[in-house]
C-alpha cells in the first residue's frame, strides 16, 4: 500500500473528477464519445510508456512529437502506395527505431545531454517534414481506416492493443533483467556499472525502444482517420512527459510505475472534455493541466525532502 501511495493518490484524484462529472454532467459518460476519447488516447498511452522508461533511465526525449509526425507521414505515404498494412506498421516501427537510434547514439555514444540532443532532433525532423510536405495532408486509400474493421471493432482493437502493451511492459520492467537495468541505470549509473550493467548500452536501447513505440503509436493514430496531418504529434512530448510526471515517475530517474503513468494520462486527458461538458471557457484548460503537473512535482519534491531528513 505504502509503496503505491503516489500512484494511488493520482487514481483517487481521477476518481474524484469522474465522480464529480457523474453528478454534474452525466452526459460525459455516453458510450460513443467515451469510446472515442479512449481511442484517441490509445496511441498517446503507447508513447507515454516509452517516455516513462526514458525518464526512469534519467534521460528525456522531447523529439517524440516530431518522430511521431515523420512516422505518420512515411507510413501514410507507403500505405497510399498500396503497401500491405502489416508491412506499413513494421516500416513505421523501423523508422521510429532508426530515429531513436540517432538520439541514442548521440546521447549514449557521444555522452551529450539528452535534452539538447532531442531538442535538435525535434527541430530537425519537424522542419524536414515541413520542407518536404509543405503542410499538405496525406490522403489514405479507402479501407485503411480502422484497419478494415467496423468503427467500433477498430476502436476496441486499438484500446485493447494499447492496454495489452501497457501490461506487458509493466511485467517486463519488473521481471526481466533488461527492465531492472533501466531502473538501476536511472538510480545510479556508476553503481550499475560496478554491478556489471553497461549503462550507455542500456540508455542507447531505451532510446531505440522509445522510437519504435512512437512508430507503432503513429500508425495506431493514422488508422483512425482517412488522412494524415503532417503536423500531427505537435505537443505530444509535453503531453506524455506530463502524464509520466503526474503518474509518479520521478524526474530524477530510477523511480516510477507504468500503471501510474496510465492513470496520470487518463487524468490529464479528462480535463479538456470535462471543461467542455461543464461549459467552462477553454482559457482554463492549460492552466488546470499546468496546476496538476505543478502539484505532482511539488508533492514529489516534498516527499524526497522528507525521506532525506
Amino acid at each position: 500500500m505504502k509503496r503505491h501511495f503516489r500512484e494511488l493518490s493520482v487514481a483517487a484524484a481521477l476518481l474524484v473528477v469522474l465522480l464529480g462529472l457523474a453528478i454534474v454532467a452525466p452526459a460525459f459518460f455516453q458510450p460513443q464519445p467515451l469510446l472515442s476519447l479512449l481511442t484517441r488516447e490509445a496511441p498517446t498511452l503507447v508513447v507515454a510508456c516509452g517516455m516513462a522508461l526514458v525518464i526512469i533511465s534519467r534521460q528525456i526525449d522531447i523529439s517524440v512529437g516530431s518522430q511521431f509526425a515523420v512516422c505518420s507521414v512515411c507510413g501514410g505515404l507507403l500505405a497510399a502506395k498500396g503497401w500491405p498494412l502489416p508491412l506499413v506498421f513494421l516500416s513505421s516501427v523501423l523508422f521510429g527505431a532508426i530515429m531513436g537510434a540517432v538520439n541514442g547514439w548521440l546521447v549514449a555514444g557521444l555522452r551529450l545531454p539528452s535534452i539538447v540532443v532531442t531538442l535538435a532532433t525535434m527541430v530537425t525532423w519537424r522542419e524536414a517534414l515541413r520542407w518536404q510536405r509543405q503542410g499538405e495532408f496525406v490522403n489514405l486509400p479507402d479501407g485503411l481506416q480502422w484497419v478494415g474493421l467496423s468503427q467500433i471493432a477498430g476502436q476496441w482493437t486499438l484500446i485493447l492493443a494499447a492496454l495489452a502493451l501497457l501490461v506487458l511492459l509493466a511485467l517486463a520492467t519488473k521481471h526481466l533483467s533488461a527492465g531492472r537495468f533501466v531502473y538501476a541505470v536511472g538510480t545510479d549509473a556508476e553503481a550499475a556499472r560496478l554491478a556489471g550493467i553497461r549503462p550507455q548500452l542500456t540508455i542507447f536501447f531505451v532510446f531505440v525502444f522509445m522510437g519504435a513505440l512512437v512508430g507503432l503509436a503513429a500508425m495506431m493514430n493514422v488508422v483512425q482517420s482517412p488522412q494524415v496531418d503532417p503536423k500531427s504529434g505537435s505537443g505530444l512530448e509535453l503531453k506524455v512527459i506530463a502524464a509520466a510526471v503526474v503518474g509518479g515517475v520521478a524526474v530524477s530517474g530510477g523511480r516510477g510505475k507504468l500503471w501510474g503513468v496510465f492513470v496520470g494520462l487518463l487524468l490529464l486527458a479528462c480535463i479538456s472534455p470535462a471543461l467542455t461538458h461543464l461549459h467552462i471557457e477553454a482559457y482554463w484548460e492549460k492552466a488546470i493541466q499546468g496546476a496538476i503537473i505543478l502539484l505532482a512535482v511539488v508533492a514529489d519534491g516534498l516527499r524526497t525532502r522528507k525521506q532525506r531528513n
Binding site: A25, A27, F28, Q30, Q32, P33, S36, L37, R40, L110, R130, W131, Q134, E136, F137, N139, Q151, N221, S225, P226, Q227, D229, K231, S232, S234, G235, S272, P273, T276, H277, H279, E281, A282, Y283
Partner: protein, 337 residues
C-alpha cells in the same frame, strides 16, 4: 568519430543550401509589331505548394489573354531570404512588374523598394509587404468578407436558427479573433435566433479538432452546426461528426482547402468549405501588375477593369478580390489544391 560528424555536417549544409534552385526564364522579348512586350514576374511563397500552383493557373490565363510574358519563380520551401534573392535577380533581368506573395512582411520590403526605385512596378498578393514597398496589394479576402460569409452559410445550413459552436486555431490568434468579431456582428445583426454556445481551440491540429468536436457533440445535444475557422479544423470536426454517427444531423462548415475536405464533402459530412477562388487571385494579380506597367492603373483609382471578370473595387491601396468562394458537392471537383 570526428570524421562521421564532419561528414554529417557537410551533408546537412548541402541539404540546406540545395533547397532552392530558381529557373527564371528570359525576359525582354519583343512583340511582332516591334513594341516591347511586358514581362510580369509572379512569386509564390513557395513553388511546390498546391495553393500557389492553383494561383498560377489563373495567372497563366491572364498572361495569355494579355499577351504578357509571365515569369513564375519562388523558393522551393517558404524562405524569406530566398525570396529576396529572386527579387534581386528580377531587378537585374529588368522585368516590368513584380507581384509577390510575401513570406515575411519586413524581410522582403527592402528588396521591393529597390525594385521600385529602378522603375519596376511592384504589387503584392495573398500576403502583403510594408505599404511603402509596393503600389497595390491584391487582397484575397477581408476579415469582414470571411466572417459574414461563414455566418451567412452557417445560418443557411441551420435554417436561420439553432445552436452552433466554433473551432478556432488558438484563442490568441489575431486574424481569428478579427473573424470572430465579424461573425458575431453578422449574427447579432441578421440571425438573432442563431446561438453561439462554445468556442474551442484546436492548436491548428486536425487530431485535436476531432477530440474537441467529439466533446462538443456529447456535451450539447442540441448542437446543429460546427464552424471551423482554421483549415485543419474542418476535416477534424468532420471526422468527429462522422464517428458520432451524426452525419447530416450536425452540419460542418469552415475555412479550408478543397483537397483536405473532398472526401467529407462527397460523403455529405461537410457541407461547405469556404475560401477564395485561388485561380481568380492569380488572374487578378497578373492583370493588376500589367495594368500598372501599362499605366492604366494609378494610385488613387477606385476600380480596376479586369478583362473577362468585370470590375473590381479598390479600397485605398487594396484591390479587393471580393466575396469568398464556397466549395461544395457541386463544384469541389473542379479544384485541385
Amino acid at each position: 568519430m570526428k570524421k562521421i560528424i564532419s561528414l554529417l555536417l557537410v551533408a546537412g549544409i548541402a541539404f540546406v543550401s540545395g533547397c532552392g534552385k530558381s529557373d527564371s526564364s528570359n525576359s525582354g522579348s519583343t512583340t511582332p509589331d516591334g513594341g516591347k512586350k511586358i514581362t510580369v514576374a509572379l512569386m509564390p511563397k513557395s513553388k511546390g505548394n498546391a495553393y500557389f500552383i492553383s494561383c498560377k493557373k489563373g495567372a497563366d490565363k491572364a498572361a495569355k489573354e494579355l499577351g504578357v510574358d509571365l515569369v513564375f519563380d519562388g523558393p522551393t520551401d517558404p524562405d524569406p531570404a530566398k525570396q529576396n534573392e529572386i527579387v534581386e535577380n528580377w531587378i537585374t533581368l529588368g522585368v516590368d512588374a513584380i507581384a509577390v506573395a510575401c513570406e515575411n512582411r519586413e524581410g522582403i520590403s527592402t528588396a521591393l523598394r529597390k525594385a521600385k526605385a529602378k522603375g519596376i512596378k511592384v504589387i503584392t498578393y495573398d500576403a502583403d509587404a510594408l505599404p511603402d514597398a509596393r503600389e497595390f496589394f491584391v487582397n484575397q479576402a477581408t476579415p469582414e468578407g470571411i466572417g459574414f460569409t461563414l455566418m451567412d452559410e452557417a445560418a443557411r445550413l441551420c435554417g436561420n436558427e439553432g445552436e452552433f459552436a466554433i473551432i478556432t486555431a488558438s484563442l490568441t490568434a489575431g486574424n481569428m479573433i478579427e473573424w470572430q468579431k465579424h461573425i458575431e456582428a453578422r449574427r447579432a445583426d441578421k440571425y438573432p435566433n442563431m446561438k453561439m454556445i462554445a468556442l474551442r481551440p484546436c492548436d491548428d491540429l486536425k487530431d485535436k479538432a476531432q477530440s474537441e468536436t467529439t466533446a462538443l457533440l456529447s456535451a450539447n445535444a442540441n448542437l446543429k452546426c460546427i464552424m471551423a475557422i482554421c483549415s485543419p479544423g474542418v476535416p477534424g470536426a468532420a471526422e468527429a461528426v462522422k464517428q458520432a454517427g451524426k452525419t447530416g444531423k450536425v452540419k460542418v462548415l469552415g475555412l479550408g482547402l478543397p483537397n483536405e475536405n473532398r472526401r467529407y464533402v462527397h460523403d455529405g459530412v461537410t457541407d461547405s468549405v469556404i475560401l477564395w477562388n485561388t485561380e481568380d487571385l492569380g488572374y487578378l494579380a497578373v492583370f493588376a501588375a500589367d495594368s500598372l506597367a501599362k499605366g492604366t492603373l494609378k494610385t488613387g483609382d477606385k476600380t480596376i477593369k479586369v478583362g473577362s471578370m468585370g470590375e473590381y473595387q479598390i479600397e485605398g491601396d487594396s484591390i479587393l478580390l471580393g466575396k469568398p468562394f464556397i466549395f461544395n458537392k457541386a463544384n469541389i471537383d473542379q479544384f485541385d489544391f
